[in-house]
């Protein structure tokens, strides 16, 4: 498979930005959610730490740092590609890509990068403001842990896009992927540690989460950032998320080839 030229990829990103800016007020309201979720979590933990000094190995400061940092990482690695891919297959809109000299999967990847970048930039502004407000409590990592956590998130970002595309491609076989996508969106934030640190639950559950890909988009890089994992453990985590990414490249390729054979352009 030939890779799309960088110039074309950047054009796809530019187009996705232009489309997003058509509805500017909607972008603003979308960002409100980025404030609400971490802020409420911080307030909850403030209330909990008013009656106790430690919770599952976290102090008030490390817990607030966890909330802020994991919010940034989850915002950096999220996307909504599965719903779009599923709809384009279901409604027959995929046809317009098939007649173009562009790989559909690569187009979706670039387009998702564009859409996510815009959302992420705005999320970062919001969370940086929250970080400034809670700067006294914020944990500052050493350089190796900072770099390793950012590297894990960068790989997890690509992995998450591939995972979303793989889920969207299931539409080749089932009538609707809306339920599948909704379940995925519902679950991924929780399994990424978006509501609370996963290590407050049982070790068995934590082991399962370390095997699955979701925790590498939030919980694991945050643990690295907070220095709760050694450099060796962090490198192992980077290896796991990289392995998932390579596996998903293969899975998406296979699913696409099998799916396109049975595609009948229903909906046109």
């Amino acid at each position: 498979m030939r890779l799309l030229p960088l110039k074309l990829g950047l054009k796809i990103i530019e187009n996705s930005w232009v489309r997003s800016f058509v509805w500017r007020s909607d972008i603003f309201f979308y960002r409100v959610g980025d404030v609400v979720s971490p802020l409420v979590q911080i307030l909850i933990w403030n209330a909990v730490f008013a009656t106790t000094t430690a919770f599952a190995g976290y102090t008030k400061e490390t817990m607030i740092s966890y909330v802020l940092v994991s919010s940034v990482f989850i915002a950096l690695s999220r996307n909504w590609a599965s719903e779009n891919v599923g709809r384009e297959i279901k409604d027959g809109l995929l046809n317009q890509y098939l007649v173009k000299p562009v790989s559909y999967v690569q187009f979706v990847m670039w387009n998702t990068v564009g859409r996510t970048m815009l959302a992420t930039l705005m999320a970062l502004v919001v969370i940086v403001v929250l970080g400034f407000v809670y700067r006294e409590e914020l944990y500052v990592p050493d350089f190796p842990h900072l770099i390793l956590s950012v590297m894990i998130v960068a790989v997890a970002f690509v992995m998450n896009i591939l995972l979303s595309i793989a889920i969207g491609l299931v539409a080749f076989w089932i009538t609707s992927v809306e339920g599948f996508s909704a379940a995925y969106y519902n679950v991924r934030g929780l399994l990424a540690g978006g509501m609370f640190p996963l290590n407050i639950l049982s070790p068995g559950f934590l082991f399962a989460m370390n095997v699955l890909p979701f925790s590498y988009t939030g919980f694991v890089p945050t643990q690295v950032f907070l220095g709760k994992m050694t450099v060796v453990e962090s490198l192992a985590a980077l290896a796991v998320v990289s392995a998932w990414t390579v596996a998903l490249v293969v899975i998406v390729g296979v699913v696409w080839r099998l799916g396109i054979k049975r595609y009948e352009a229903v909906g046109i």
Partner: protein, 268 residues
């Protein structure tokens, strides 16, 4: 609009037909049922585990016992499910219908467009989670000392009031579609605000409590029924809660009709 017995029967018949037709489209993708249900269950279970974990170390949160905090969570769940089942999906689809020109089909029918938009989708997917939501509520009440008749009556009255207020707020959001077509993320803000109501309002700073009670009265939706049940709702504040819902319904209705007059059917 004058309501006669004949008109009520006709609307009931239309609603039954809309429900049956929507059910017909849903059963074509049965997998949606399963995945949607699983996603919701995982989400509810995570919240539940979160609360249990907190109360394993903290005897109270902002002065509320475990049962009382769980009652906030369970009541929010119940109201959320009832809203989703009854009208949320219908209103939520309005922006897409306006963009695609499908809303015109609603206008040409000899039925109230508000009724058609709000109630043409009965969400069977969320109906599957209703027994679980009731189960959580039962468990929360079982942790509390037995409630007197006044507390039960107060809870039920403010639960009804919450649904009326939520309907008014959703109608207002839907009416905004006629002014700015893309309102998807505004619905996201409503959902975010709903989710923060699963916690006792006292975790928020006083200014936020004031804002969520008197400016965007979301606290009236969940906090008021719970506080009425546990005897923490002052009479004057309760009367305000009932009055604000009535006022919101009147204003939302006016806003909807004004919006409808501004609708230009540009997509058709």
């Amino acid at each position: 609009m004058k309501l006669s017995a004949h008109k009520l029967r006709r609307y009931a018949w239309i609603w039954r037909r809309a429900v049956a037709m929507h059910f017909g489209t849903l059963v074509t993708s049965r997998s949606d049922f399963v995945f949607f249900f699983l996603g919701k269950m995982v989400r509810m279970c995570f919240f539940f585990v979160f609360f249990i974990s907190i109360f394993a170390v903290a005897p109270t949160v902002v002065g509320y016992s475990k049962g009382e905090v769980l009652l906030f969570f369970a009541t929010m769940n119940l109201i959320d499910v009832l809203i989703q089942i009854s009208w949320y999906r219908g209103f939520f689809l309005l922006p897409r219908m306006v963009r695609d020109g499908d809303f015109d089909f609603m206008l040409t029918k000899p039925v109230s467009p508000l009724f058609m938009i709000a109630f043409h989708i009965f969400d069977f997917l969320d109906l599957t989670t209703l027994p679980v939501a009731i189960g959580f509520l039962w468990y929360a009440f079982s942790l509390l000392p037995s409630l007197g008749a006044v507390a039960w009556i107060g809870y039920v009255i403010f639960l009804m009031n919450a649904l009326a207020l939520a309907f008014a707020l959703n109608m207002t959001l839907a009416a905004l579609t006629f002014r700015t077509v893309q309102t998807g993320n505004l619905w996201g803000v409503f959902r975010d605000l709903m989710y923060i109501l699963r916690f006792p309002p006292e975790i928020f700073p006083r200014g936020v409590q004031f804002f969520l009670t008197f400016v965007v009265p979301m606290l009236v939706i969940v906090a008021f029924p719970v506080k009425a049940a546990i005897g923490r709702l002052p009479l004057a504040v309760g009367v305000y809660g009932l009055a604000i819902s009535a006022l919101a319904l009147v204003l939302a209705s006016k806003f909807w009709h004004r919006g409808l007059r501004a609708y230009s059917s540009a997509s058709s």
